[in-house]
């Protein structure tokens, strides 16, 4: 099975309500002492492209194995796309614009 690299989209009350409307609230998981998160996954190629297109992003290889430090606006766009498409498999579509 190919490796998957999550992007953590942290979920506050406002985002949770949007996810509920999109039928995705059940996909939230509690990551840190109750802090909710919905994870969007990248494959190897998508991870490499994300790190190339957004140079501030970092792959946390030591601890969480996730892609972190994407600009807030970028994560907002990813979250909006998740809600719009009502699924988390959206990275191909998201990366098409870059």
């Amino acid at each position: 099975m190919a490796d998957k690299y999550p992007i953590n989209l942290w979920v506050n009350e406002e985002r949770y309500q949007k996810l509920e409307k999109a039928g995705l609230a059940a996909m939230c998981q509690e990551m840190l002492a109750g802090l909710k998160c919905i994870q969007v996954y990248c494959n190897d190629a998508q991870r490499d492209k994300v790190l190339k297109v957004f140079p501030t992003a970092k792959f946390d290889s030591a601890t969480t194995k996730s892609i972190e430090l994407l600009p807030r606006k970028v994560k907002d766009k990813i979250f909006d796309l998740v809600v719009e498409k009502q699924k988390i498999d959206i990275m191909d579509e998201f990366l098409k614009q870059f």
């Binding site: 953590n8 989209l9 942290w10 979920v11 506050n12 985002r15 509690e30 990551m31 840190l32 002492a33 109750g34 802090l35 501030t56 970092k58 946390d60 290889s61 030591a62 601890t63 969480t64 996730s66 972190e68 430090l69 994407l70 600009p71 807030r72 994560k75």
Partner: protein, 153 residues
């Protein structure tokens, strides 16, 4: 040569950190996982090993070594890999992950971040931006001065 330079850099970063804190009058200094690490060159606890040989003898500060910090829902608290054995329940985090939470502006539970501290960190992040957490050439070029210390008389 590269190895020597990297080893020197990591060692200096640890030692300078300890020396600065000694001069500030501190008696103890906590060293965590991958302290002053250079990418993935060092093992996560190499700083502990290196400092064990230097600090107590030369720098007059007591090192306190900690392993990876994490949240354990079973214990209901922040703990570390050396203090908790509920491995299947561990919720791990890192400095990078915490910076990511700050960057997203989503307030974490108070067990992870005291709200008044989070608000202050968020305010500073929004005012001064993020950039690199490390003092490198790019940081020095792009930094926004926050305050200045006049020369000592």
């Amino acid at each position: 040569m590269y190895r020597e330079v990297v080893e020197l850099f990591g060692s200096i970063a640890d030692d300078v950190g300890a020396a600065l804190r000694t001069n500030l009058g501190l008696t103890h200094h906590m060293f965590g996982r991958d302290h002053a690490g250079v990418g993935t060159y060092y093992g996560p606890y190499d700083a502990h090993r290196m400092l064990g040989q230097l600090v107590e003898k030369d720098l007059q500060i007591i090192p306190v070594y900690s392993e990876n910090w994490l949240y354990c829902p079973h214990c209901g608290e922040i703990t570390s890999e050396s203090l908790c054995n509920h491995k299947k329940e561990w919720q791990k985090f890192s400095g990078t992950l915490i910076r990511s939470i700050v960057q997203d502006g989503v307030k974490p539970p108070r067990l992870i971040f005291r709200p008044e501290v989070f608000d202050l960190v968020l305010e500073c992040a929004e005012k001064y931006g993020f950039g690199s957490p490390f003092v490198d050439a790019e940081y020095l070029k792009k930094r926004i001065p926050v305050f200045e210390i006049p020369p000592l008389k």
